[in-house]
């Protein structure tokens, strides 16, 4: 059952992404102000959702569970590093798609407003996390230190989320999660936006699973290598 679901993850992701592309590019109408540029709303918010909340959130929760009550679970550490790596990819995608959207609408590729700057900082923090992991050879120390680092970095996530409320930003405010719960996007556009969130969330799960399996395979190879090296050393010592 679990195997079948996991095997369906890839095809389901591709099917939903294809459906999003079709609805987003062909079926939905252009926006009154932005025209066809508004179609980026089916990519950029969903990518940012995965980057900030799903993947960075997973990495944070896995790190917290690793530290809390000293579980020191290897699985949680692997989930954390896998999620953080996926997060970095999606943060970069968020910045790139946002930049592509910003040039024709705002008139600039980049603006140092609170939302954009705090998101860029999160990207640097995610890269820092991955660098920190390379700076430690001892698996347990590496896991502990990177978990603490992830928790500190996670403070930035609510700052990014509320940046458009706390400060005046060039970036627009919320479309879906508005303060007074009024959806500022209409009809089919809203449904396509929702679909894009589901599609990119599935893509995230797919990538996370692949990355986790890679981490497991890597660890197994390392331990196999060690066993082989030990066996070789034992043979050397025999007369």
């Amino acid at each position: 059952m679990h195997r079948t679901l996991a095997r369906l993850l890839g095809p389901a992701t591709l099917a939903l992404l294809a459906l999003t592309v079709w609805l987003g590019l062909v079926v939905t109408p252009p926006d009154r102000v932005q025209g066809n540029l508004a179609r980026l709303v089916y990519v950029h918010p969903a990518v940012a959702w995965v980057a900030l909340y799903l993947s960075f959130g997973t990495a944070t929760i896995a790190s917290a569970l690793y530290l809390w009550r000293r579980t020191r679970s290897v699985t949680l550490d692997r989930v954390a590093v896998s999620a953080m790596e996926v997060s970095l990819v999606f943060i970069v995608l968020t910045l790139v798609t946002g930049s592509i959207w910003g040039r024709p609408t705002w008139g600039v590729w980049w603006a140092w407003d609170a939302r954009l700057t705090s998101t860029a900082i999160l990207g640097v923090l995610a890269a820092g996390y991955l660098a920190l992991r390379r700076a430690n050879d001892d698996p347990q120390r590496r896991a502990t230190r990177s978990a603490v680092f992830a928790l500190v970095a996670a403070i930035n996530v609510p700052i990014i989320h509320f940046s458009v409320l706390w400060w005046k930003t060039l970036h627009q405010g919320a479309t879906v999660f508005t303060a007074n719960h009024t959806l500022k996007i209409h009809g089919l556009m809203a449904w396509t936006l929702l679909l894009s969130f589901v599609a990119f969330s599935l893509a995230y799960l797919w990538l996370l699973r692949a990355r986790y399996r890679l981490e497991v395979a890597r660890a197994r190879r390392e331990s196999d290598d060690l066993t082989a090296a030990l066996a070789a050393r034992v043979l050397e010592g025999r007369p």
Binding site: T105, A111, A174, L188
Partner: protein, 157 residues
């Protein structure tokens, strides 16, 4: 007295309480600092722009310093020039005429919120001299073809 089995598992050393406490202290200090910064409004200069109302209120102290001015482009006020555009940006309590030199973005037009980068020519000048227009688009998405989107109450949006 028996000799201890050399292969018997040994108890792990006691958990380093000191380093754990230190980690906790670092976390608390970091969180406290951020809360302090936020609550004291020390991060208020992270605002990307000043609204028309704010600029009018602080007109005297502003002088001819550079500022990013935000407001709604008044309808019928746009006058395209060779380099850019002359127009009026309005806030809720007043408006400021702008002379801007620099190609306006594609979405620039009447009733569009914009951020104009520039400064007043002098401490007493009335006209704001802009060098760049940024369009601050809203978070609303409404279909361009009205017949294609119908509100729940039946009205066509």
């Amino acid at each position: 007295m028996s000799v201890a089995d050399p292969l018997a598992p040994v108890a792990p050393p006691p958990a380093p309480d000191r380093s754990r406490r230190r980690t906790l202290v670092v976390l608390v200090v970091l969180a406290g600092l951020i809360v302090l910064l936020l609550s004291q409004g020390l991060l208020s200069n992270l605002n990307y722009f000043e609204t028309v109302d704010q600029v009018l209120a602080s007109r005297a102290s502003l002088g001819s310093h550079e500022v990013r001015l935000e407001g709604l482009v008044a309808p019928h006020s746009i006058e395209r020039t060779a380099l850019g555009a002359n127009f009026v940006v309005t806030g809720s309590r007043g408006s400021i005429p702008v002379h801007e030199s620099g190609a306006p973005p594609e979405l620039f037009g009447p009733n569009i919120p914009v951020v104009v980068v520039g400064h007043f020519a002098s401490a007493t000048a009335r006209v704001f001299t802009g060098t760049q227009i940024l369009v601050k688009h809203t978070a609303q998405y409404i279909a361009a073809h009205p017949s294609r989107v119908r509100a729940p109450n039946g009205s066509v949006r």
